[in-house]
């Protein structure tokens, strides 16, 4: 994973977007953003911090300082496993996990998501499948994701797929809701 931001990467004032913090605070999860005391309890509780480029505490600090670029390009936002350890431990009731979703949405919209990890692609493929059918199929979904990221992984995963198949734990039938178009309309109309 990438190096932590250190003194040599110091940003200039011009790189900051001071509205960024306000915008994030208004989206779901941002409610108590300005209450953060930078205690680091979230980072300590986070099972993924060791693999992240910035810890959750750093991300909060960076959002408030307006380091939009760095935040929206960070892998942290995508490595979050939604385990909610941070959210339940935060003394200021900051919904850090929900905040990560709102940052992912921004990064996808602005096309600033990190290209080296497959998670953003998987989010899009999953979303598309739900949009189309109203249900997901694990085997098909993963096939799409591997084809869109690293087709070689498809070969690497074949033994597992066969094992699932043999144990009756995989089928390639695309299940769907009765009227997928109605579900699509529902989603469109709140956009």
């Amino acid at each position: 994973m990438t190096e932590r931001l250190n003194r040599h990467d110091a940003r200039r004032q011009a790189d900051f977007d001071l509205n960024f913090g306000k915008e994030v605070a208004e989206a779901p999860g941002g409610e108590n953003l300005y209450e953060c005391i930078q205690c680091g309890a979230c980072s300590g509780a986070c099972p993924m911090s060791a693999y992240m480029d910035h810890t959750p505490r750093e991300i909060i600090g960076m959002i408030r300082s307006g380091m939009k670029e760095d935040v929206l390009r960070s892998e942290t936002v995508w490595l979050c496993a939604s385990c909610y350890s941070c959210t339940v431990i935060c003394p200021r009731q900051i919904k850090i996990t929900d905040l990560m979703y709102s940052l992912r949405q921004r990064a996808l919209k602005d096309n600033t998501y990190p290209k080296r990890i497959p998670l953003p692609v998987m989010a899009r493929d999953f979303y598309k499948m739900v949009h189309r059918h109203g249900r997901t199929n694990e085997g098909r979904l993963m096939t799409n994701v591997y084809l869109h990221t690293n087709p070689f992984d498809l070969i690497r995963q074949t033994p597992l797929a066969l094992k699932l198949w043999r144990h009756g734990r995989m089928h390639l039938r695309q299940e769907s809701v009765e009227k997928p178009s109605e579900l699509r309309d529902l989603m469109q109309s709140v956009k």
């Binding site: 993924m48 909610y84 339940v88 739900v130 249900r135 734990r169 109309s189 709140v190 956009k191």
Partner: protein, 302 residues
């Protein structure tokens, strides 16, 4: 009480043994589950990574369907065995009551399709129903094959207990332990029962997830557990399917079977293993646990 049942996609596929065994034990306990008609994927943590309002609309459609299908005019109980679905549906109920901006868009959009969400749905994990509605007493009354001496590690994962659930403690939950003890089994005391396994990152960032799973499994093994017991198809998948890779990296690691709590309950109720999807597990359960099950055979600890 009537229980509607929201299966979720995983439980219809890799987690099918969970559905098979859960249905079987709930029938024995006279608490049948009625599947929600025309349910859609809840969207998990993935759709909300793309768009919030749409994600909440998607999940809320299931809530509205539940209100429509239920005979109850008051609270509707929707039982949700997948941790990710449990969290996602629960999140929708919270957003609808806490975020006026989102509710203001989602509720009218549902109305237009003849679906109404009046905030009447209670999302319930099966363990919540078992401990708080059915009760451990009723469970032990149905035990036909006491699992005395069996040592299990109850693994809850994260999203069953965090951040919304109120039926158990977010870090040191006990409901699964209570159920296992009602069967006569022994549960190990450990601090990793709610440590994250890496979730959906599993198939995409295998190195990280293998390491997280290794920590959890190793601890269970060290404390003498014979089986790791889970209550989520994704937790189950990660903990089970990563073991061959873990063994390559850590040759001293021994494999440990991973089962659903409902499968272990079924074995305690003396149901036939086939009905519980036991043959679908990659790592077989200890022979002592399955031998003679469903035929009135007594359990003798290995």
């Amino acid at each position: 009480m009537d229980y509607l049942y929201y299966p979720g996609c995983s439980i219809k596929e890799s987690g099918i043994a969970y559905e098979e065994s859960l249905t079987a034990i709930m029938d024995v306990l006279n608490t049948p589950l009625q599947e929600l008609e025309d349910w859609n994927c809840c969207g998990a943590t993935t759709c909300i990574s793309v768009e919030s309002d749409e994600a909440i609309a998607l999940a809320s459609r299931n809530l509205a369907l539940a209100e429509k299908q239920s005979n109850s005019k008051g609270t509707v109980d929707l039982v949700t065995p997948c941790n990710a679905c449990y969290l996602t549906l629960m999140r929708a109920t919270h957003y609808l009551s806490e975020r006026q901006d989102i509710a203001g868009k989602v509720l009218p959009a549902l109305d237009k399709q003849g679906l109404h969400c009046d905030n009447r749905v209670r999302i319930r994990h099966p363990l919540d129903v078992l401990v708080n509605d059915v009760g451990v007493k009723a469970i032990s009354d149905h035990v036909r094959r006491k699992l005395t001496g069996l040592k299990v590690a109850c693994y809850y994962g994260c999203q069953m207990v965090r951040p919304y659930a109120t039926f158990d403690d977010p870090h040191r939950p006990t409901s699964m332990d209570q159920v296992m003890k009602a069967l006569g089994a022994q549960t190990i005391d450990w601090s990793l029962k709610t440590k994250c396994c890496g979730a959906a990152l599993g198939s995409l960032l295998p190195d990280i997830v293998e390491q997280l799973c290794h920590d959890i499994l190793r601890e269970a093994e060290k404390r003498g557990a014979e089986v790791v017991v889970t209550g989520c198809p994704l937790c189950h998948f990660n903990l089970e399917s990563n073991q061959s890779a873990i063994r390559k990296r850590h040759p001293d690691f021994k494999t440990i079977p991973v089962a659903y709590f409902s499968q272990i309950m079924g074995l305690g109720f003396d149901l036939p293993p086939k009905k519980l999807g036991i043959q679908r597990l990659f790592i077989p359960l200890p022979a002592s646990l399955t031998a003679g099950a469903g035929k009135g055979g007594e359990y003798v600890t290995a």
